[in-house]
């Protein structure tokens, strides 16, 4: 089976853009989750979660460790049960399902894990076959199905290898093939790239992106790395202390972060040089300079604004870091500059920003 055939079977006649329809694949409605006893002894992992995951899209949930994202993703396939509210997957409320129907639903939801969770006693082939065996699929059918899946993830020649003979990236590819074995309509990714090096991370993200496009498979991923969200997610939700603090199109959230947590997460993705990150102060002392991030996107991306800023403030503008990247397919530039914290200079700069519509953010102060 080629990817195209698989895609045709999963979503007949649907092209990618039409796949993003109005009915969400997953909807959280006022979801809360408490662990332990009610009252004092318990722990609230999630509260008031209202979130939808668009069909056919890649949605990222980002947050620091302990923010509740692992619990959140496990509510989708019923590995955890919500204490309050509803989790609805493709029109079915997960909390209302009995064990048997829950198992049926799980067979339509693939999941990949940070530590791959492959069986060490099974070859790559047999690992991919496992969900099919569990679903009671005929041996001959399994045999016909697993090979193409391994081809799809680029491991056609590794079918008889055991996990211990594979690299981290290859293990995750087996994990992805395994998650796709039962033709799921939704793929859950639990920190799937967090144990991988940056290069391997990129190749796994590329694979997920390709699968999303070619199989029209909805992907919900959780991560603590902004880089992951930026690279593949079209939509993002930021979770902090068990609550969704911000959500929307990745580009919008990235360009205009409104919550403190988002900014912190973004800061680590800004690629500020180490020395600069360490020398940022939140309170200026005499003679310090303001450190400002200028963001270029949409209209401002194509104007020669940097030169004009330098002209406006005199030659006192120091460019410290910056770059242009693509987020959700749109160009996005960011430039970190410093200039005198003298109130007159700052006021001139702010007036310039207001006139040109440039988005800026004061990161702090440096000596």
């Amino acid at each position: 089976m080629t990817i195209q055939q698989a895609a045709a079977r999963t979503a007949p006649g649907a092209d990618h853009s039409a796949g993003v329809s109005a009915v969400p694949m997953v909807a959280f409605e006022g979801v809360g989750k408490r662990f332990g006893p009610a009252g004092e002894g318990g722990f609230t992992a999630l509260a008031d979660i209202d979130l939808t995951v668009a069909r056919g899209a890649i949605t990222g949930i980002i947050g620091r460790s302990g923010a509740g994202k692992s619990t959140l993703i496990r509510l989708v396939n019923g590995l955890e049960k919500a204490t309050t509210g509803k989790v609805i997957v493709d029109g079915i409320e997960v909390g209302g399902l009995g064990e048997d129907s829950l198992r049926g639903l799980r067979r339509q939801i693939g999941m990949i894990f940070q530590h791959f969770n492959l069986l060490s006693s099974r070859t790559a082939f047999d690992n991919v076959a496992l969900p099919l065996e569990i679903a009671g699929v005929d041996k001959a059918v399994i045999k016909a199905k697993v090979g193409p899946l391994l081809d799809l993830v680029g491991l056609g020649d590794k079918a008889n290898r055991y996990p211990s003979e594979l690299s981290g990236g290859q293990k995750q590819r087996v994990g992805i093939a395994r998650a796709l074995a039962t033709d799921p309509k939704l793929l859950l990714s639990d920190e799937a790239t967090s144990a991988l090096d940056p290069e391997t991370t990129q190749s796994i993200l590329e694979l997920l992106k390709r699968i999303n496009a070619e199989l029209n498979l909805t992907v919900l991923l959780i991560t603590h790395e902004m880089e992951v969200v930026k690279t593949i997610a079209s939509h993002v939700a930021v979770i902090d202390a068990g609550r969704i603090v911000e959500s929307g199109r990745t580009f919008d959230v990235y360009a205009n972060p409104s919550h403190e947590t988002t900014r912190t997460l973004l800061a680590s993705a800004l690629n500020l040089p180490e020395w600069l990150r360490n020398s940022i102060k939140q309170v200026p002392s005499a003679g310090d300079r303001v450190l400002v991030r200028l963001v270029f996107f949409g209209e401002t991306a194509f104007k020669p604004l940097t030169g004009r800023l330098v002209a406006e403030l005199g030659s006192d503008v120091n460019i410290l870091a910056g770059g242009i990247e693509e987020i959700g397919g749109e160009p996005f530039g960011s430039l970190v500059v410093s200039y005198s914290a003298d109130p007159a200079v700052v006021a001139r700069a702010e007036q310039f920003y207001a006139e040109t519509g440039l988005t800026t953010e004061v990161l702090g102060y440096v000596a």
């Binding site: 829950l102 799980r106 969770n117 099974r122 496992l130 969900p131 679903a135």
Partner: protein, 222 residues
Amino acid sequence: MSLEMMISLILKSLGQTGQMVAISGLLGSLIGLPIGIFLATSGRGELFPAPMVNRIIGLIVNATRSTPFIIMVVAIIPFTRFVTGTSIGTNAAIVPLTIATIPFFARLVEAAIREIDKGLIEAARAMGATPMQIVFKVLLAEARPALMAALTMTMVSLIGYSAMVGAVGGGGLGDLGIRYGYQRFMPEMMLAVVVVLIVLVQLVQSAGDALARSFDKRNRKN
């Protein structure tokens, strides 16, 4: 005593030891395996949650394991007679040996299964596996090397235990060593018995290790 006589006595005793160890090892492991699986999977929030039953079985297992074997042999004579119709001989000895093997093997199985990464159980649940499928397709499959090691350890212990059942006329190598080597002052018989036991334990251990290795795919290199 002639050499031929000694050899024939040793062979006969070796046969009895083999019979006792093989049968009680097989029966004890077959019964101990599900008990061990249950102990490892019936805690709160696990596959077959039944914390109360878990605690009760755990207590029984501990009680059996802390009873000195020689006392158990004597204490369960009525039960042995009920099962085999007699309280002496090799067949009768198999009963206490089996009963001692069950909790021993069960605890080893429990430990082997608890070793397995919880992530694998979660992955199987996420695939829609039933608890029974998880036991057979994940836990037992992944624990195979450790189970093989547990079986080897059980067999080796049984060879030691089987020396004690001479007390109920069970025969076997240990019995031969005591009766001829010690009570009849035949140090050469004692030595021969000890050597045969050492060789036997070595063979069992090596065979078990080799099997465990062949099951173990965790450290394969290209």
